[in-house]
Symmetry: C2
Subunit: 331 residues, 2 copies
């Protein structure tokens, strides 16, 4: 009997249970996947703890939105995908009903995409959360050009490392920030030309020096809170700051005078804007596929756990020590 | 001997002195105007008080950026404008050196524009501060379409009333806000379909009712401060809020969660983005001229003072009682 991960109450990593469960038959518009690898995301740990904006509505519940696998069964009305296809999931569905942690999952057919064969199944489970999140601000919503300077805050996350790759692919100069001095080298190896360690280095001075005082055209920030004051000082006139998370947990004062003086935009953003809009999502999938195929992008994998160590994988993501994607293998 | 307005120290309206002064000869790139009418702006009262972000650097100093008049003398290298031309000024120059309060002023030739003959000289002094300010958010930076709902905050100012006209011209539904119940009727007559009196009416409920819960596509706000929390609640997903002033004077908390959830942009803005960029300014002038010529826009004049009552004109603008442009006539 195949196994899936469920939890019966919110709490620490140990609430995750690996249990046998018979595979379900996909309904109309759905497919069942034999899961090969699962991408682990911070939002899933928040959901498990019950601190994510969307709450669990019934227990036991499944978890996980990002996986690679093989199509095992196809529901009525599904076109464009066949049994035996190798696919990855796009995080665009109800996590309770379609959670992918386990050896099988039933997901909507529209939430599938292919990745180039050159990627391993582990890498194929680490593509869409990061690159779809990055795609909106860096490709869909701005016209970054070679020579622009961008600041990527908390850059050692999988999304941050994906953002470094995308920005470099576009010819931008990347200033990456991190709280950990130990992550400096891996960010430099990952493509950042400059690394600012928060609390030690000065992001405003660094950006001003690099840009001859012009500032950064785009800033990509999952932290918010009081640190926004420094980010607007580092931004160029007419620049844009994408806020895509709330890691700070503290209130965020809006720096009105600097925003007026520089004509700055502060843009709240989540990847749902891309995944839930069919046109944007189709553009994003095509763009990401082409960039992976060309070798311009390649997911940075930090550590791989087997499925029976799912609790350890969650402990590790909550430690904040990772510098790329955490993947769990199911086969 | 013609007279000009100068002040020798910052302070209340009474520091403004009307004194005789021989007309200066325009330098290269400049022209001298015989002033016919002068538009009075809040920013000039702030500058006179010494509370404007840009401070006076030497006394005595002149004041004023917006006027209509006739070209009296032309400096070297000036093309496209001749003695005898009727022109208006565009607020795009150093107020100390080129202030237009008075019977003559020397201004850069590039800061001149023509308005249709159908406008009076009083109206011609009330065009550019308001419509250039409105042009950026409503025309240059967004693609508003018929049926969109917009919220115009503090709408009884000259800029607010100009914004109502521009939004209606674009086919938008306008919700105008004001602190004064007595200004409700004039805003309705000025084109707003809905008026929200702050402290009495609920802007979020009003917008939700009008839009079937969708929210406002664009919000135009010179106030900032704690009121931004309500504005983001009234905004549609993907909407944009232009902050173009700091009338509140209180700190402005950034409503992170709502901005994330709705994908909202909060954009700091001043009209200098338009006036100091030659391409944008040329587009703006052409757009405004065409709309005035077509009769789609017409400046709303609140009250006219003669030049020897300049102190009263400043007292009046500081009273906040106006519902349109205050103009001072110089002839």
């Amino acid at each position: 009997m195949p196994r899936i991960v469920r939890f019966y109450k919110t709490g620490g990593p140990e609430v995750l249970c690996l249990e046998e469960a018979a595979p379900e038959t996909p309904a109309a518009g759905e497919v069942r996947l034999k899961i090969e690898a699962i991408g682990i995301n911070n939002s899933e740990a928040q959901y498990r703890r019950g601190v994510y904006p969307m709450k669990t509505t019934s227990f036991p519940t499944r978890l996980g939105r990002e996986a690679s696998g093989v199509v095992e069964a196809v529901g009525a009305g599904v076109t464009g995908v066949m049994v035996g296809d190798k696919v990855s999931t796009i995080p665009a569905f109800d996590i309770e009903r379609h959670g992918v942690y386990g050896e099988w999952a039933v997901v909507p057919a529209i939430a599938l995409a292919k990745v180039p064969n050159k990627l391993s199944r582990v890498e194929a489970a680490a593509v869409f959360q990061q690159y779809l999140t990055v795609y909106g601000p860096f490709v869909e919503y701005t016209d970054l050009t070679a020579g622009d300077t961008v600041v990527i805050v908390a850059a050692a996350s999988s999304v941050g490392r994906g953002a470094i790759q995308v920005a470099r692919m576009l010819g931008c100069t990347v200033v990456a920030t991190t709280r950990s001095p130990s992550k400096r080298d891996i960010l430099l190896e990952g493509g950042a030309q400059h690394v600012v360690v928060s609390g030690t280095d000065d992001v405003v001075a660094t950006v001003n020096k690099i840009t001859d005082g012009r500032g950064a055209r785009l800033i990509f920030d999952p932290v918010a809170g009081p640190g926004l004051a420094d980010l607007v000082e580092a931004a160029a006139p007419g620049g844009i700051i994408f806020e895509y998370g709330q890691l700070s947990g503290e209130p965020t004062p809006y720096p009105l005078v600097t925003c007026l003086r520089k004509g700055l935009s502060i843009r709240g953003y989540t990847l749902w804007e891309i995944t839930l809009n069919p046109d944007r999502c189709a553009r994003a999938k095509a763009w990401i596929y082409a960039a992976l195929e060309a070798g311009s992008l390649r997911p940075a994998i930090d550590r791989i756990f087997p499925l029976d160590r799912i609790v350890d994988a969650h402990r590790y993501i909550e430690s904040g020590k990772q510098t790329g994607k955490i993947v769990v293998t199911a086969t």
